[in-house]
Symmetry: C2
């Protein structure tokens, strides 16, 4: 059965000590509010005029960094597909998977509601 | 005088030892070739169906990471705007500026040809 996926979000990961300044900077840099999510460590929004989201994530500590999120309408199928390409599962967080690519770069795979992804806005697999 | 800018590219920075595997992984992950640029350290393409580019950059060494690129039709104006928001210039590379945000995260500011950015696809400043 076919499934869909696409790269859809950039997430700026900021240690707690820097988070508020980083959030404020990016809101001003993109000229949009980045409201807080129900998962309170996240703020973000769809970028005006683009089919892409920018988020910040408040970390406990650690290094600032950026990661990307792949969205899919079939999480097990997409995780399996990426594993066959050489990525590894790191851990499950809420409804999504954190994975690691061949160079050790971490990214997330996020489930979207059925029907939101299609040939026009995503890649089809199988 | 008004100028425009937008976040437009994600760049996966991979140390030379990992670059080819990382490039191959992302080409398969997004289902698109990521051809090499004239600046040979870069490969990339516009993501199918989205107004956004994914690139890889072959580093000499160092850590794998991800950074984002802001595009603008007025490089000095945009760099000045971001400096007033708290970013710092790091160095000039080819035609663009590498900058650092408040948490130390590096990003790039890239000039686009005049007329390519407008109210529908970018943010207007001034």
């Amino acid at each position: 059965m076919a499934h869909f996926s696409r790269v859809y979000k950039i997430v700026i990961d900021a240690p707690a000590a820097d988070h508020d300044r980083e959030l404020s900077f990016w809101e001003s840099a993109v000229g949009q509010p980045l409201p807080q999510f129900d998962y309170l460590e996240y703020h973000g929004a769809a970028l005006h005029g683009q089919d892409f989201w920018l988020l910040t994530q408040r970390l406990g500590d650690g290094r600032a960094g950026v990661h990307l999120d792949i969205h899919t309408d079939d999480l097990p199928a997409e995780v399996g597909r990426l594993e066959r390409l050489g990525a590894q599962r790191v851990r499950r967080v809420h409804s999504w998977w954190v994975m690691r690519g061949p160079a050790g770069l971490v990214f997330c795979v996020i489930p979207d509601p059925p029907g939101t992804l299609h040939e026009g806005n995503a890649n089809r697999w199988g």
